[in-house]
Amino acid sequence: MVAGALLLLGACTGPVRSVDVYESKAGQTAEVAASAVQTALLAVDAAKGDKAYGRYLTQVLVEAEEDASSAQGTFDGIQPPDRRADALRGRLDGLLGEATDTLAELRIAARRGRFAELPELARPLPKVAEELGAFAEAHG
């Protein structure tokens, strides 16, 4: 019970006083978003080869979008401690925005049953995944 309470407290988003801690949180956020984008890319691969049912693909894409959006929401809720952190936030937010926008488009297309359009809609994702991965490595 005590362990559970400690973990819940640790999971709360609070103010960050040091830029190093902020940077590490930015790195973790990029890692989660990169994972979501890579998952979506595998789902698109499956759609391209007609290897999965539509309902399953839709579910994967819904979850990928939720993961990326939730990571972005949590990160945006953290107060950046100084100007260097502002710059970091700006850069990551740009990448996260691009990722979530594309994932949302994929989800909408999948929900409407337009699976043939997924590869075209996913075009920006490999570059976003690469950049998020590089960001996570540099700041993790």
Binding site: L7, S35, Q38, T39, L42, A52, Q59
Partner: protein
């Protein structure tokens, strides 16, 4: 011939029944994050569960009473109560995780939110436990769980670098960028998943349900020594799939859907369909086992009439405990706590409670008053004692590591 068939059926059921939501999640998450470097833990866990499940089955077969029926008598009410409290809590959490797992598997096939399926799944679990015969229930879901073999077929079809996988498994090392505490935390989670307490509750009580006699001792051994290791191998194929597909892409699986990706990318729709059937059967079967185990544990401690071998009207308190446990488990999932998170906590906390479950088995299996000439051999005792020391170390390290690593995040 009939006996051979019964033995083969028992082995197949043990293979399919070995894997549950905890094994699926723990092996996929570990493979995606640490490659095959923690495969040795699955081996340690499988040897441990074989050792203690065989003891539990032997005790039930020789004495005609389930192990935990004897624990209170042998160790006293207070020690047995501690054992009951810890084991029941973990088994209940596992039951909630399994109900959530079934709902997630159906969500993948229907794209309808899993929360809508939870009450239906809970009702079906209760209905099967109430109406279906024990052996039918065990065999149907155990055999259907064998559909998970499709993950092994996909791995074989992929034709991976077997040498590389084996090298990763036999040369365990913490991957670059990961800390030792996190690596050990995941090792504990894997051990907890492989040695979940409900498996021995169910195994020993199941022997009584099926009326095993001394003639069934060989069946007990074959089920355990062949079925469980093959079930463990099935877990390892999920880990290998994650190692090959998810780890190189930096995917951290937090959903059941991601665990299916390696299989469907190799085998396509048929592979996906088989895997979803396997997920459903494995989690539904485990929900039945954990639900029954909740009833077994409490009823056996308090001395209530228990089991499906008697009419429900003759074991009302046992069935009431079952009903309340299933309803409460479904209620926990309906709070919208992610079922995967419940699974992660259930396997880690189960690791912390392992000595409380396995110590009494070792004691009872050594008591000649119950076991006669079928007490443990010196080798079984030596290995059992070694495992208890290991489990004590694991139990002591679990909570500090959970806090230190923020539950492996």
């Amino acid at each position: 011939m009939k006996r051979l068939f019964a033995i083969a059926l028992g082995i197949l059921t043990a293979i399919g029944g070995f894997v549950d939501i905890g094994d699926i999640v723990a092996n996929a998450e570990t493979g995606a994050r640490f490659g095959m470097s923690l495969a040795w833990v699955v081996v340690v866990g499988v040897i441990g569960i074989c050792l203690f499940a065989e003891m539990a089955g032997r005790v039930a077969t020789v004495s005609g009473r389930a192990v935990f029926d004897l624990v209170r008598e042998r160790l006293g009410a207070r020690v047995a109560l501690v054992n009951l409290a810890a084991s029941f809590f973990i088994t209940f959490l596992t039951l909630a995780a399994e109900i959530g797992g079934v709902a997630l598997a159906i969500e993948l096939a229907t794209s309808v939110n899993y929360l809508l399926w939870v009450p239906i799944v809970a009702f079906l679990v209760w209905l099967v436990v109430w109406r279906v015969k024990f052996d039918v229930m065990e065999n149907v879901f155990g055999l259907a769980g064998l559909a998970l073999v499709v993950a092994a077929v996909a791995l074989w079809r992929l034709g991976p670098d077997w040498g590389g996988l084996l090298h990763g498994a036999t040369h365990p090392a913490v991957p670059q960028g990961e800390g030792h505490p996190t690596w050990w935390f995941f090792a504990i989670a894997l051990l907890g998943a492989a040695m979940t307490p409900y498996e021995v509750f169910f195994f020993s009580s199941g022997a009584v349900e099926e009326g095993w006699s001394r003639a069934d001792l060989i069946t007990n051994r074959l089920n355990v020594y062949i079925g469980f290791p093959l079930g463990g191998l099935l877990s390892l194929t999920l880990m290998a799939g994650a190692t090959l597909f998810l780890e190189p892409r930096g995917i951290q699986p937090g959903h059941l859907s991601q665990v299916a990706l390696p299989t469907l990318l190799v085998l396509g729709k048929l592979g996906l369909a088989m895997l979803l059937i396997g997920f459903f059967a494995a989690t539904f079967g485990a929900a039945l086992e954990t639900g029954l185990s909740c009833g077994y544990a409490v009823a056996q401690y308090f001395g209530f009439q228990w089991g499906k071998f008697v009419r429900p009207a003759d074991a009302p308190r046992f069935h009431l405990i079952l009903l309340v446990s299933i309803a409460a488990g479904a209620g926990l999932v309906l709070t919208t706590i992610d079922p995967i998170t419940i699974t992660e906590y259930s396997i880690v906390l189960s690791a912390a409670a392992l000595p409380l479950t396995y110590f009494p088995i070792l004691v009872v299996a050594n008591d000649p008053d119950y076991m006669g000439d079928k007490v443990n051999s010196w080798f079984t005792n030596a290995l059992g004692s070694l495992y208890l020391v290991l489990l004590l170390v694991v139990a002591a390290a679990t909570i500090p590591l959970m806090i230190l690593t923020k539950a492996g995040s």
